[in-house]
């Protein structure tokens, strides 16, 4: 193992430029991927803190009469996830509106008839799942005498869809960058191998096994991937330290959440992926070259 390490370090030294290019490419790829991850981790956390609201208003049709109330109430109450159903008559609604609008209710005095509908205020047990809330809302909307269901965070659910789409795009782009890094690693190994072809031939003549020949190359791939990964994460961390506090301040004001650097698990995962990438590029190249 020490022989392999010494050999691969000597290789890196003798092909400084080529190895530097590979490491920089890997580090840039890791930087892009980790930047996406940092963005999505934080945005995800902000989203989680908002969470789906558990309260919704079921507005009833003008044809609704009080006699229909028990049937409708029990139909909603029986649905899974509904914790409370409270009837709000149109009179109560008007009183609430007047109370909420305080001094700006003069225009309501000019209205002859109460324009507000009867409604049911429902409490939903959300468990943080927008999908579940949306399903429930859809079910209630399909009930007779239900005009519409006003769900305060409907826009957030739509935004979440967009966020998931955006995240998927990020992952695809990250994967593309990793793929580029992989091809560059593989090409570097191929170039180094060709530069050392006569050396490899001599090794074979003196009885070296393929494993003996490959190991230093694998070690070089691991070093390239490992160093590239650390470098990429380090650049991101420095950028986070330099710009993070400013962004964190404004984001904090806007979303009531702070910006955090990548979790240890994410960093370890990225570093492992980068190291694996270095090795795998090497592995596939050698598989073809030593066939």
């Amino acid at each position: 193992m020490i022989r392999c390490l010494n050999k691969s370090l000597a290789d890196i030294r003798s092909n400084r430029f080529l190895n530097l290019i590979t490491m920089v490419t890997i580090s840039l790829s890791i930087l892009v991927v980790s930047l996406f991850l940092l963005f999505f981790e934080n945005l995800g956390r902000i989203m989680d803190s908002w969470g789906p609201e558990g309260r919704a208003m079921v507005y009833l049709m003008p044809e609704f009469s009080i006699t229909m109330r028990p049937g409708l109430e029990s139909a909603i109450q029986d649905m899974e996830g509904i914790t409370r159903v409270t009837f709000v008559s149109k009179e109560q609604a008007l009183a609430r509106l007047k109370k909420e609008m305080a001094g700006s209710t003069h225009f309501l005095d000019t209205v002859k008839e109460n324009p507000l509908p009867h409604a049911l205020e429902i409490q939903i047990q959300t468990r943080g799942d927008f999908g579940q809330v949306e399903d429930l809302v859809e079910k209630i909307e399909s009930l007779p005498m239900v005009e519409s269901v006003e769900y305060g965070r409907k826009w957030l659910a739509r935004f979440l869809h967009l966020f998931h789409l955006f995240r998927l795009t990020g992952y695809v782009m990250g994967a593309l960058f990793l793929l580029i890094a992989f091809f560059i690693t593989a090409s570097t190994v191929r170039l180094v191998f060709h530069a050392r072809r006569s050396e490899v031939e001599i090794m074979r003549l003196v009885g070296a096994t393929d494993r003996f020949i490959k190991l230093p190359f694998y070690m070089t791939g691991l070093i390239q991937g490992g160093v590239g990964g650390i470098l990429g994460l380090l650049i991101l961390y420095i950028a986070y330290l330099v710009m993070g506090s400013g962004i964190s301040q404004s984001m904090g004001d806007l979303f009531h959440a702070d910006i955090r650097f990548l979790s240890f698990g994410a960093m370890a995962g990225l570093w492992a992926a980068s190291t694996f990438l270095g090795w795998f590029g090497c592995y596939l190249s050698l598989k073809r070259l030593l066939r």
Binding site: R3, A10, S14, S198, E199, E201, I202, M203, R204, L205, V206, G207, A208, T209, F212
Partner: protein
């Protein structure tokens, strides 16, 4: 042509034929080489001398025929076993085939490293052979800074460091001056005296004949044309006939 029938032959060739794109490099070569023999393979350029050595260390596969090394049929060797077979050979080439980025010590040590020997044992053995070959002082020098003769001595050191049963040398003195060539031959001779079987392919046969007792095999256009016994006191003509024998004077 089967020249020897000794059943204890370390190398046996049966009608070995090798073609390169339809052009024959070796044609029906048969021979036995006994353990501890010193065999010269001579002949003009393109006669098939190097090809004969290449098929022996499996750098090339034969087109037809069979080769047995210590009773092991080379045509049945699976690729994964090839490195282990090669460790039983020591090889010397005209162009030395040293790794320019490794020191003399590391070049020689490589033959033991591939066999998985312990570093302490490697160091001891390598320094021993470098002493024998007179390269001890240059152990930490890179090969390109050495003369041709010195590089060939390093190559010989690498060939012998693993205590091989057989040494195959392809034009080992081809690019050397007389003094260096003699030095290299003396080292090979020293190992021959220890019982190592040595095959030397060279067209400088006269130079070799004067120092070594052995057998000379002549190849022409890939065919074995003659085989004679040599000793340093008898000088023979191209066909092997003694033209000058100092012992008879």
């Amino acid at each position: 042509m089967n020249l020897d029938t000794g059943k204890h032959a370390i190398i046996r060739l049966f009608n070995v034929t090798k073609h390169y794109g339809g052009k024959p490099a070796l044609q029906n070569v048969s021979m036995d080489i006994l353990p501890g023999e010193f065999v010269f393979i001579s002949g003009p350029s393109g006669a098939g001398k190097s090809t004969l050595l290449k098929v022996l260390y499996l750098a090339e596969t034969v087109s037809d025929g069979q080769i047995l090394i210590n009773g092991m049929n080379l045509s049945r060797i699976v690729p994964a076993r090839l490195p282990f077979l090669r460790r039983r050979f020591g090889m010397v080439f005209q162009d030395f085939k040293l790794i320019p980025t490794l020191t003399v010590f590391d070049n020689v040590a490589l033959a033991l490293e591939v066999a998985g020997r312990k570093p302490a044992a490697i160091k001891k053995k390598v320094m021993h052979v470098l002493r024998i070959t007179g390269m001890e002082e240059k152990a930490h020098v890179l090969p390109p800074t050495l003369s041709g003769g010195e590089q060939q001595r390093v190559a010989v050191a690498r060939a012998v460091v693993g205590d091989p049963e057989i040494i195959l040398a392809d034009e080992p003195t081809g690019s050397l001056d007389q003094v260096s060539a003699r030095r290299v031959l003396e080292i090979l001779l020293a190992y021959h005296k220890k019982g190592v079987t040595i095959l030397v392919a060279s067209h400088h046969l006269r130079q070799l004949e004067t120092v070594v007792t052995g057998r000379s095999i002549v190849l022409e256009k890939g065919r074995l044309t003659s085989a004679v016994h040599l000793d340093p006191y008898r000088v023979r003509d191209k066909r092997g006939a003694i033209c000058h024998d100092p012992l008879s004077e």
